[in-house]
Amino acid sequence: MHFKLLCQKILPLQILLVLLAFSSCEATLAPAYDQAIVGKVTESSDLAMRFFAEVDGGTTNESFAMREPIYNTLIGAFESLKLQAKARPVPNNTALEKINELLKSKGSGAISGEYPSAFAFEQIALTFKKMKETDREQGIKPLALQAFKGQIEIFLDQAITYESFLKR
């Protein structure tokens, strides 16, 4: 349903025509698949989910010191993933430039160096930072904890789906 809407919105036929007009043979429109990133996401998401299982039901700030090293590990891991994801060269060719012009003319944002996975990793790191700050100041109540977990799971799904899809 959403895919159909997206397809209608950015007019894939026009995009293919642009490709036809501006590509000589093989085109590169997305970054390369990186097994190291996928491996590190799997490892870090496993650590994150085990941490959520440990604090299930909420936390109090008296025991924050015990959790602080895990927060630091998780924040570091996802910030490092953001850097790795952003470090890949952005495909830059005439076809992509023309597609971006077309997207802009249709009122949609251009495909840029801001990879969706890099954005998701950044948001996950920010969420863990906020969670750490809340835990240190007042502890985390059960529904707030579930909301932190939900937010991280959604961004993880976006990052993992995109990075896995790059394996073509």
């Binding site: 349903m1 959403h2 895919f3 997206l6 397809c7 950015i10 894939p12 995009i15 293919l16 490709l19 590509s23 043979c25 093989e26 085109a27 590169t28 429109l29 997305a30 597609i99 949609s108 944002g109 495909i111 801001e114 990879y115 969706p116 954005f119 998701a120 948001q123 969420t127 906020k130 809340t134 109540k141 059960p142 529904l143 707030a144 579930q146 909301a147 939900g150 937010q151 799971e153 959604i154 961004f155 799904d157 976006q158 789906t161 995109y162 899809f165 790059l166 073509r168």
Partner: protein, 104 residues
């Protein structure tokens, strides 16, 4: 000649269908998971605010989070679409070049 053209058309259709069917099924699964998860997250924030588990400061943080995840959901779909277009284009060009006897 007519038979050759028909074969080429059929081959092109098959190449495109194979790629699109596989990719659309991945996109459909991702979209369904995301929409459901974002809806649940919205409900959870609402419940948390009502119960007092989520205070004013956290409420603002989670609302910003909802906006960011909706934006990135669309950007992820765009990113996936670019990969699909790339696969489609390269498969078709490779087939057409081979059909006229050029090795890429």
């Amino acid at each position: 000649m007519a038979d050759d053209v028909t074969t080429i058309i059929t081959d092109i259709k098959n190449i495109a269908s194979d790629i699109l069917e596989k990719d659309v099924s991945v996109v459909r699964g991702f979209s369904e998971r995301q929409v459901e998860a974002i809806a649940k997250q919205t409900f959870l924030i609402q419940k948390g605010v009502e119960s007092g588990d989520i205070d004013e400061d956290l409420r603002e943080f989670f609302l910003d989070g909802l906006e960011a995840m909706a934006l990135n959901f669309v950007n992820t779909l765009k990113g996936i679409l670019m990969v699909t277009l790339e696969k489609l284009w390269n498969a078709l060009v490779s087939f057409l070049y081979k059909a006229v006897g050029i090795v890429i």
